[in-house]
Amino acid sequence: MDLGLLAPEISLAATAVAVILLDLFVERKGALAIVSVIGLMVSAAFTIAMFGDPAQVSFNGTLAVDSFALFFKLLFLGIAALVILASVDYVSKFERFQGEYHALILLSALGMLLMATATELITIYVSLELASISLYILAGFLKDPKSTESSIKYLLLGATASAVLLYGMALVFGSTGTTQLGEITQQVQALGAQGVADNPALVLGIILLIAGFGFKIAAVPFQMWVPDVYEGAPTPIVAYLSVGSKAAGFAVILRVFSSAFGLPDWLSLDWGMVFAVLAAIGMTVGNVSALPQTNIKRMFGYSSIAQAGYLMVGLAAMGVASAGETIGQSTILFFLLSYSLANLGAFIAIIAITNKIDSDLIEDFSGLFKRSPLLTLGLTLCLISLIGMPPAAGFMAKFYIFGGAAQNGLLWLVIIAVLNSVVSAFYYLRVVKVMWLGEPASVEKVPSSGALRVALTITCLGVLFVGILPGFAMKAAELAAKMFGI
């Protein structure tokens, strides 16, 4: 056993425990955020130190430390750090449980880290539950009726999705006799295309796995929880959910579907088309439902459904592509990076603004440019990135992911996706228009703490950097995708 390979996870768990204990003794609760961020940075340092080492399997095949896992680990650690920075103002309103709040964010991040690195179905499931249960609790942290409703809805639907996922895993285990992804790969290859088709239990298992993971990434038709949960949950947690939980879901889907069920041409072609259809429906449903929204958190809920649809274009390309080609994987990784930066940035600005105006309605954002030019500028940049316009990161991300799909003969899907991007511009730009051209309700400035400003600066610079010089991030994504499946 090589505990060294688990250094990022162990240090993160230790930080979470330290934060809980520190909460008992420290009067100035700001220290908790500092300790959490330092812990995340230590964990990130361990992760970075592992880059370049050859991929390793450990713990009897339950864990794979490859550059794919490391890429995602860094992404999750970054997301968690930004969420904690963004929470500083928000959390200061809590009278109690600040330690628990930070600890749960860290534990959820730990679950996501493990999801990215696990290569065994039971471990994947337990890690997923660790990430999810922490998020269910965080969603209900405000304990007002809306927050509680959001938490209960998330818990009930999430538990159902988990049951479906477990059922799928049980069927896959029953058909292959193993829960190790590597051994499942061998079994499925040995069966061949015809063998899989003659085994309805295995096919049903794969379908149930898609359904269970589909809930995590908020893909249609498992998206109905999104708007209600987003509306009621604390805003920093919504930011965390919309980015972290989605990226973790994609990490697992990529791992499971490009190793275990990737190979027989017949099968992969089939699930490629399933993802293509789901992607098309997801984008359209998300974007069209976002159009009439008046609450910005609900709007972002629907927009995140649409973004999951764009990401699934990459999954479809991956399913249709010939064996050994990783264009689908690398473009998904790149898209996830740019989406995370832009969505987090947008939410950080929204947290600062709603803290002051105490309303989530888009019309109350009127004239914000006059009250806080820098916040408005940051939010505008992130919205432009989410639409996919240059020079922001979202443009390159969409360019790569749609280009990859077009190369693999999914031109119809790309046309639908581009049309959808045009529709999405309507509601994103409406927010921009209200902020820049609307009349301000008051002349009071919108204050923001140093931590929030740092977080917003990091995300905005990231969006610009990835958008203007995409080469570096794309190299990293390609490297992470190639190391796949060991």
């Binding site: 713990f59 009278e95 109690r96 534990l107 471990t123 337990v126 660790l130 609790i137 006799g177 309805p200």
Partner: protein, 162 residues
């Protein structure tokens, strides 16, 4: 043969008990049906030679969880009103039937691989090796421990007043 009869008896009772859990209006009775369901499932484990699992099922589910559940109901006000009516009863029933049909069809139409080895008895020592041994699932067990920590934090946060 005796195991076969026991299996079918237990299976029928557990399904009926599970149906009672979702259809009974009185929550207290529903909870007791759930306990019955837990017990029969433990019996099913015995017929499948999973002795350790059966013991754990009795200890954890029948013992601890049932008591928590019933205590929780007793401490809740408005319980005598029963479970409220649900407009979606019929669609939910239909969806459940369709799902059941699909799963049953898939399971019946699959040629399952059957191990030539007989069942392992007793299973406890081997399970211990699998869970905590050198080449086992120790990492997964540890993650489950962290999961419990998160759940305890959640219970404290959600139950104590703001």
């Amino acid at each position: 043969m005796a195991f076969d009869i026991a299996f079918w008896l237990l299976a029928i009772v557990s399904v009926v008990a599970a149906l009672a859990v979702v259809t009974l209006r009185n929550i207290f009775r529903a909870a007791l049906s759930l306990v019955l369901c837990f017990i029969t499932v433990a019996g099913l484990y015995v017929t499948l030679s999973a002795d350790f699992l059966a013991a754990v099922q009795i200890l954890v589910y029948v013992g601890a969880i049932s008591i928590l559940l019933i205590l929780g109901i007793m401490l809740t006000r408005d319980v005598q009103l029963g479970s409220p009516t649900n407009k979606l009863r019929f669609p939910a029933f239909l969806a459940a039937i369709v799902f059941f049909g699909t799963v049953a069809w898939a399971v019946l139409n699959t040629t399952w691989g059957i191990s030539p080895q007989g069942p392992l008895e007793p299973t406890t020592a081997t399970l211990a090796g699998k869970l905590f041994g050198e080449n086992g699932y120790i990492l997964t067990v540890e993650i489950a421990a962290v999961l419990l920590l998160a759940a305890i934090l959640g219970a404290i946060v959600l139950v104590r007043e703001k």
